[in-house]
């Protein structure tokens, strides 16, 4: 979506308005922030099942000879490890090792891949990849024509089964399922810390799917709850925890960086240099102590007089009943258990660096 262009509507826009959602612009799209309320929607996802309109996200399809090796030269994770039907979290970096975008890449066939990218980065990612394409490769950006719904929570698979009369794929796997006369791509992924699926299908079938999921018991949930849920789960959000001057190593995303894969990838040299030099800052999760105010992006973190970090995202955690956040802090202050101070409206309040995730949702049961 071009900067300053018209605000875009997803195929589910009419459904949100009919539900009385509070709408606001996000990454160029008119999106539902909340329906009944963030706290209620958050609890529905943690305790039962919620449905999110994620049609604003980008859907890229790649085919052609050698497409896997080519994608591997642009993305940090090792895409050649994927068998058809499998997916992985990965990152697209600039030459300096900074993050252009974080995304999930799925292998659909021998030489066919599906990438789900952030709404705010559809144009930038697309241009970056197109500029580097080789003869015989095909790239189709279907972002404008597709609907997508995330179904998340301990009852998500039950609702999926009821609506699709099929079993969901295994974690991080993807499969095609019929929905009416359309074919939906169903991935066992999400952004909440709960089990569930993300369903991608043609835009004109989106509304029917949304209505079926709600009729089967899913609570409509907006971007407000999506943010509190992802922060409790400590998932980064591009533009907050990630950006062109932040590397996946500093962000603690080394698990998605296959440093030694054959052929390397754009940004690998910069990451190697950063690793050798040592990290100056690290992305941490923290919680606020003593009932103090919730953190907000941009708040400073202090150790005594010295400013040692800055909050990238913050909120009130509905599950923990306290303020939580993520922040980049000096590497020597990043250990879990470290006490720091956060400045709120000119006053200092205590915070403590915590282990990630801050809240263990259903995905972590038994761990």
């Amino acid at each position: 979506m071009a900067e300053g262009g018209p605000i875009l509507r997803t195929p589910l826009h009419g459904a949100h308005v009919a539900l009385g959602a509070r709408m606001a612009e996000f990454a160029g799209w008119d999106m539902p922030i909340q329906y009944a309320g963030i706290l209620e929607e958050h609890r529905a996802v943690r305790g039962a099942v919620g449905a999110f309109d994620i049609s604003h996200m980008g859907e890229f399809f790649f085919t052609g000879r050698g497409i896997g090796a080519w994608l591997n030269s642009l993305l940090t994770n090792d895409i050649e490890r994927l068998a058809p039907g499998e997916g992985q979290y990965t990152l697209l970096l600039n030459e300096r090792g900074g993050v252009i975008d974080d995304l999930i890449a799925y292998r659909l066939g021998a030489e066919e891949y599906f990438l789900v990218v952030n709404a705010s980065k559809i144009e930038e990612d697309g241009a970056w990849m197109r500029d580097r394409m080789k003869a015989g490769m095909h790239f189709e950006d279907r972002s404008a024509g597709m609907a997508a719904v995330a179904l998340q929570g301990p009852r998500a698979l039950q609702v999926f089964r009821e609506v699709f009369a099929a079993e969901a794929p295994a974690r991080f796997c993807i499969a095609a399922h019929d929905f009416g006369k359309s074919t939906a791509l169903v991935a066992r992924t999400g952004y909440t810390g709960e089990d569930g699926v993300e369903i991608f299908l043609p835009g004109d079938a989106g509304r029917a799917l949304w209505d079926r999921l709600l009729a089967a018991g899913a609570t409509p949930a907006g971007l407000g709850a999506r943010d509190t849920l992802r922060l409790e789960a400590c998932y980064p959000l591009n533009g907050h925890e990630l950006g062109p001057d932040r590397t996946p190593l500093a962000a603690g995303l080394g698990f998605a960086v296959a440093m030694e894969k054959p052929g390397g990838f754009v940004g690998a040299e910069a990451l190697r240099a950063q690793k050798a030099a040592g990290l100056a800052e690290r992305l941490v999760a923290f919680s606020v102590e003593g009932g103090a105010a919730p953190p907000r992006a941009g708040y400073g973190l202090y150790a005594g007089q010295g400013r040692v970090g800055e909050v990238t995202s913050g909120t009130f955690s509905p599950s923990l009943g306290r303020g939580i956040g993520m922040a980049y802090v000096a590497a020597d202050r990043a250990a879990p258990g470290t006490g720091l101070e956060m400045e709120v409206r000119g006053r200092r309040v205590p915070i403590v660096i915590a282990r990630k995730p801050l809240y263990k949702g259903g995905l972590y049961e038994g761990t």
Binding site: R22, I33, Q34, G37, I38, L39, G224, D227, T228, G291, A293, P294, R296, T315, F316, P318, G323, R345
Partner: protein
């Protein structure tokens, strides 16, 4: 949205109840609905001198922090100490959830506040 007739209102969505030389202050039904789920409240210290239209308290929803402004000048005489422990009460009962009382230094400032009809019009009610 409820706008009780017996209260005075500010353009920044505080309500004011006159109790002799005290002005009890809270936020309106419209304000709580706009803020959505209120999760944190920071009240001023009793004894603090405040000036009309200056920020004296802070209120936070899940998503954002907002200021609460003094409708009139004076001294903070009393705060509702129970409220920060139950900030959701501001959503549930906005007109019972007074936040602080100002001992007015210039009751003439009350003339600048809106009555219920004017406030109702200002929020499109």
């Amino acid at each position: 949205m409820k706008v009780p007739d017996h209260l005075k209102y500010t353009a920044t969505h505080e309500w004011v109840r006159i109790e002799g030389d005290l002005a009890a202050v809270g936020i309106t039904d419209h304000a709580q609905a706009e803020l959505t789920d209120i999760v944190y409240l920071e009240l001023p210290a009793p004894g603090k001198q405040v000036t009309a239209k200056s920020p004296v308290a802070a209120i936070e929803s899940v998503k954002a922090a907002s200021d609460i402004y003094a409708p009139v000048s004076g001294e903070i005489a009393e705060v509702n100490a129970a409220l920060p422990g139950d900030p959701g009460a501001v959503n549930a009962r906005p007109y019972e959830s007074w936040m602080f009382k100002i001992r007015m230094s210039d009751p003439g400032e009350l003339a600048a506040l809106q009555d219920a009809d004017a406030y109702r019009k200002s929020i499109g009610g």
